[in-house]
């Protein structure tokens, strides 16, 4: 057993830090894109809009049935082609692994967030809709001001738990050779041969961030439970 030397980690810290920042940026972007698209998907299903509804359901089932790594490969291959078609000249436009990762994670997470929001929408009491009608709110205003805020509020612990999973899943961009936290550690490990120190450090960083975030979610959940109990 070789002796461990964690001073190597201190030297590597700036690089690891930039990797961590990339992981966090990817998480944030995927969260934003995923929530916006996911809400859209959920509403399409909620209103049972013809054709669109079937397409969205098919998309969600597909995305949730295949591994994220395969989804990454798919998008890495498809996105340039699709963009080429959209731009009109039909030639694939290479946009690089970074943008592919952002697009992929956004579209992938949309499938998961939309399921959460869809369940939330189903759970809203009918009386809420009737009250809005009684107040003569338009259907847009009903969802914008009454229904969706409640759905987000109540589903927020689940949405946040999903986001913690998303943060962990971003490590899979390793297969696109991107430099996220794990990517940074693995590149350094290949240079200096210090696999053990590098990967243990990464594991500890992930544990600290994920469990701190889980604790926050648990606190949030308890607080909601309390409000409910007092009403």
């Amino acid at each position: 057993m070789n002796s461990l030397d964690f001073t190597i980690v201190l030297q590597a810290w700036p690089y690891l830090w930039s990797g961590l920042l990339f992981s966090l940026a990817l998480t944030a972007a995927a969260f934003l894109i995923g929530m916006i698209l996911g809400t859209g998907f959920a509403l399409v299903q909620h209103f049972e809009i013809r054709v669109l509804n079937q397409i969205v359901r098919g998309y969600i089932t597909l995305i949730r049935s295949i591994p994220l790594i395969l989804v990454l490969f798919w998008f890495f291959f498809l996105v340039p082609i699709v963009l080429g078609h959209l731009s009109g000249n039909g030639r694939p436009i290479p946009i690089g692994a970074t943008y592919t990762a952002f697009i992929t994670f956004g579209l992938f997470e949309a499938a998961y967030y939309s399921e959460i929001i869809r369940v939330g929408l189903r759970a809203v009491n009918r009386g809420q809709f009737e009250a809005c009608q009684a107040l003569a709110l338009s259907s847009f205003d009903t969802y914008r001001h009454v229904i969706l805020p409640q759905v987000f509020r109540v589903a927020s612990p689940i949405i946040l738990s999903q986001t913690i999973i998303l943060f962990q899943d971003t490590s899979l961009v390793y297969v696109l050779s991107l430099t996220d936290l794990l990517g940074a550690a693995s590149k350094l490990a290949q240079l200096n041969g210090r696999l053990v120190e590098m990967y243990l450090t990464v594991a500890v960083i992930y544990i600290v961030i994920s469990s701190a975030a889980s604790q926050c979610v648990a606190t949030l959940r308890r607080r909601y439970a309390l409000t409910g109990a007092h009403r």
């Binding site: 509020r153 999903q162 899943d169 297969v175 243990l200 544990i207 994920s210």
Partner: protein, 264 residues
């Protein structure tokens, strides 16, 4: 579209043989990994629920560690780090395992123990969902703590959580693809290899996608069948696959409507 799969590879096989061998590794990982996960998960989940402080703390620690490290990082820990920190004779023995097995066993342990942490949380939720009266009745009948768990608590809890275990089954077969990062040629890896050899990316990934879809369908139907067979009459849990899948903490969705009403 799939004609290319029946062409000869450089090593004299057909491309579809590559795909099928990948499927074999994927299934082996998912199947054996599942039983490791289930065995460990039930034990840890029981540990989470018992009065013994030490056992509860250890079980909690297990769940925190295995749930909060990304599965890819865990894969690297098992494959790269473990042989280095073991005594060198044992570490070298591990490193000298012949190729597919040298990757298969770390991947199997990784997936099994990772999924176990998630199953443990489901088991704990199932145990907590049981009415208190069940345990009190067992006490009144003079059952010991062990017998109470063995004959009253655990069997009922397991029957309750079948729907939420569905998402863990789906999770483990999807996570088998992470094994490609340590060089195991499972389904996704084979699809990529075929795409690189033939430039028929659409076909290669499409075939893999269809296989994964079929596996998802089979896994889902099997779990629904088991649920129907063992469900405790009168318990209506979230049957919806999506509802089950939502759950990091399994209680959330059941509680969602209640909280929703409370918030009004």
């Amino acid at each position: 579209m799939f004609r290319v799969l029946f062409e000869q590879t450089a090593d004299g096989q057909l491309y579809i043989d590559w795909l099928l061998s990948g499927l074999g590794w994927t299934l082996a990982l998912a199947f054996f990994g599942w039983w490791i996960a289930f065995a460990v998960g039930v034990v840890v989940g029981i540990g989470r629920s018992v009065q013994n402080r030490l056992a509860a703390a250890l079980a909690r620690l297990y769940v925190e560690v295995f749930r909060n490290i990304p599965v890819l990082v865990q894969m690297f820990l098992w494959y790269f780090v473990l042989p280095e920190i073991l005594p060198s004779s044992l570490g070298n023995a591990i490193k000298q395992m012949p190729p597919p097995w040298g990757m298969f066993f770390p991947a199997l342990l990784c997936l099994g123990l990772y999924t176990a942490a998630r199953i443990a949380e489901q088991v704990r939720a199932g145990i907590e969902a049981l009415p208190k009266g069940q345990i009190e009745a067992a006490n009144a009948l003079g059952l010991s703590g062990y017998l109470t768990y063995r004959h009253v608590v655990v069997p009922q809890a397991l029957r309750l959580i079948v729907p939420s275990l569905t998402s863990e089954v789906m999770g483990i077969y999807k996570n088998t693809s992470v094994a490609l990062t340590i060089g195991l040629m499972e389904l996704t890896a084979q699809a990529r290899q075929i795409s690189e050899a033939t430039f028929q990316t659409f076909t290669a990934f499409g075939a893999a996608t269809l296989i994964y879809l079929a596996l998802a369908l089979i896994a889902y139907q099997t779990m629904m069948f088991i649920d129907k067979a063992v469900r405790i009459p009168g318990t209506a849990l979230v049957k919806d696959i999506t509802g089950a899948e939502l759950m990091e903490e399994p209680k959330g969705v059941d509680r969602l409507p209640v909280v929703m009403e409370a918030a009004q």
